[in-house]
Amino acid sequence: MQRELSTYPLGPSLKNKLIQSGFMLVDDVYHLKPSELSRETGLSLEDALEVIKTVTEKDGDPTDRQSKGPKTQSALEILQTEQNQPNIITFCQQIDDMLGGGVPLSKMTEFCGAPGIGKTQMCMQLCVDVQMPKCLGGVEGQAVYIDTEGSFIVERLVDIADATIQHCNFMLKQNQDDVGELKDFTLENVLKGIHYFRCHDYIELLANIQLLPDFLKEHKKVKLVVVDSVAFHFRHDFEDLSLRTRLLTAMAQNFINMATNYQLAIVLTNQMTTKVRSGAGSSGQSHLVPALGESWGHASTIRLILHWVGNVRYALLYKSPSRKEKDVPYQITVGGIRDLIHDEDEEMGADNNKPIKRQKIS
């Protein structure tokens, strides 16, 4: 075994002593007895025992990711898994197309926007959509909703859930499929599938995120984690900006880990802030940018900015590794997020509740 001892989860002082006394690789300690190691390095007998235990134990266990490191995958394999993974549709065809089929699993998606643009509505819509049955192109998962602002109003969720269920039944009937398949897709089950966490301050938020992996282990069906909004607690009464950056980065790291380990989608919302451009020619001009600063911009894989153009809501794909930048309109109806209906199909627009035909129906 050529693995270096410093890569093991040992205390820094232990590592130091080992290296100082010339123990670099696993082979160096592998066949030693604790007493011998202790004599050679000056470690206490207990510490020496711990070193040997860590090295030998973890090594023999192929399921432990920490000792082996992440498994390598070829690009082809990743492509295949990604293509096989369903997306969570948003119920707005144009946003789905822009994202390549919807909000992807195993990735972090961030929705930014001014107050009232529909970030919370989008989150609620996704929480319901993630539970759509597989036969309709859904993910059939569950959702975790971490609410920091207190704007999660369950009666609104019921509106959206009702409309979605109605729509699914309507689609199945149109395709003359067995409606029996939708037995489980009822309001009660949809509501049961949304786990609500309320965080009153950033400490609670951090604690919840710390404990979330355990929750996910218990609730394997969870395929979506929503944080609405990530910015809220970090934007007021936070004097130490470098601490904020560190916390946010650590949080993003935790989320990415969860997203890849459990193949789930992470959806975050963020507020907007005013940035004043300095420099000649444009001095004094201000424009809106997502809050939490430049470094947070790197955190999420996909970033959408929701904004107004006149009286129409638009979603702008601002950052995405695989799709091109695009700006599409959408609207919010009683039933949730929908496509903006143009004049030519006004007869459909007459009833906002009326389900809009989607492409992804098998």
């Binding site: 989860p9 040992l10 205390g11 820094p12 002082s13 711990e50 860590t54 001014a114 107050p115 009232g116 919370t120 929480c127 975790v144 909703y145 602002e149 207190g150 704007s151 999660f152 109003i153 369950v154 009666e155 609104r156 969720l157 019921v158 009660e188 949809v190 509501l191 049961k192 599938g193 949304i194 786990h195 609500y196 966490f197 309320r198 965080c199 009153h200 400490i203 609670e204 951090l206 604690a207 919840n208 710390q210 404990l211 355990d214 929750f215 934007r235 007021h236 009464d237 601490l243 560190r246 916390l247 650590a250 507020q271 907007m272 802030t273 005013t274 809106l288 919010i332 109806t333 009683v334």
Partner: protein
């Protein structure tokens, strides 16, 4: 006795953490894994055990499902209470009334009916729950001009008649706590010292600030905008924490400012900018229209020109964007269908 003693983990880890300068659980959670390993001289598996134990020890609401919320089988603080406006049309449009979540903002030009709306809430909040109220008192923080006592008395007379059939007679004027404030320092004192005491007694079910704009619009120079933003956030944060802790609605009145853009029509936006908007949960705008009405009971000095006003829901988590007309008369505000 350190804060860490109640943690249920290996004593070896506890000794390690006590050796360090870290005293609060918050500071431990705020540090990254490698940082903790360095400061505590612990291995990474020990650090994750430690962080986990600390995260568990932090008091926080248990997760519940949306179904629990819907059936109201959750902790009392998560149940949404609604305060009726005292008019069926309003309650219908607002789906039951003002929610006990975050800050509800009422903005509009002067004389658009904001204070009338607030006065009415002062009375409805005292009604029993069966009548749409919250059976509690109200704190009315006045910052602009004197509290319109005369008008309140007029409304009280009307409410006394209207609810004379109630078992327990409500002394409407006994449950309205009025506070006049003229600057930010006074406001800080009021919301950090006075309000918590009143709220802790459980008598208060509604806090009204009329208006926030007056305080934050005049006292700050142009170069003090960052300070203003900080003050606003602290203030809003405090109000929100009251709303959360006691599960009560908070109503803030705001002014409007004109907004210039390419279109020629006049447009107004609520004042105080994006910083404040980010703190607002529901935003309503009141405005006058030029459409006149003739009402039998209207009194000239209350509804000045007797015109119809409009009530607009700009955003709210549970209400769609709607606009509907309303009027102000002797008996308060009334929505029109």
């Amino acid at each position: 006795m350190s804060k860490f003693d109640h943690l249920d983990i290996n004593p070896r880890i506890l000794t390690a953490i006590k050796r360090t300068k870290l005293t609060s659980v918050e500071s431990v959670l705020s540090l990254s894994g490698p940082d903790l390993e360095r400061t505590c001289q612990l291995s990474s598996s020990d650090v994750s055990t430690l962080k986990h134990a600390i995260a568990e020890s932090i008091p926080k609401p248990d997760p519940c499902t949306a179904l629990d919320l819907w059936k109201e089988e959750c902790s009392n603080n998560l149940k949404i209470k609604k305060l009726s406006i005292g008019c069926d049309v309003f309650d219908n449009f607002l789906r039951g009334g003002i929610i006990s979540r975050g800050i509800t903002e009422l903005s509009g030009e002067s004389a658009s009916g904001k204070t009338q709306f607030c006065l009415q809430l002062c009375l409805t909040v005292q009604l029993p729950v069966t009548h749409g109220g919250l059976a509690g008192g109200v704190v009315y923080i006045c910052t602009e001009d004197a509290f319109p006592n005369k008008r309140l008395q007029q409304l009280i007379t009307h409410y006394n008649e209207k609810y004379s059939g109630l078992k327990e007679r409500i002394q409407f004027s006994d449950n309205i706590y009025i506070e006049h404030i003229s600057d930010y320092d006074g406001l800080t004192y009021c919301i950090h010292k006075k309000l918590p005491v009143l709220l802790a007694q459980g008598l208060i079910q509604l806090v009204i600030v009329d208006s926030v704009a007056a305080l934050f619009r005049c006292d700050y120079e142009n170069h003090e905008m960052i300070k203003r933003a900080k003050h606003m956030n602290t203030f809003a944060g405090k109000l929100r924490s009251f709303s959360q802790q006691y599960n009560i609605p908070i109503v803030c009145v705001n002014q409007v400012s004109d907004c210039f853009d390419k279109s020629s029509t006049r447009k107004v936006l609520p004042a105080l900018g994006l910083t404040w908007s980010n703190q607002v949960t529901s935003r309503f705008i009141l405005a006058k229209t030029s459409c006149p009405i003739q009402l039998e009971n209207s009194i000239p000095n209350e509804s000045v020109d007797g015109s119809v006003r409009k009530f607009e829901v700009v955003f709210a988590p549970n209400i769609p964007q709607i606009v509907f007309p309303f009027i102000v008369d002797k008996y308060g505000i009334h929505g029109l269908k």
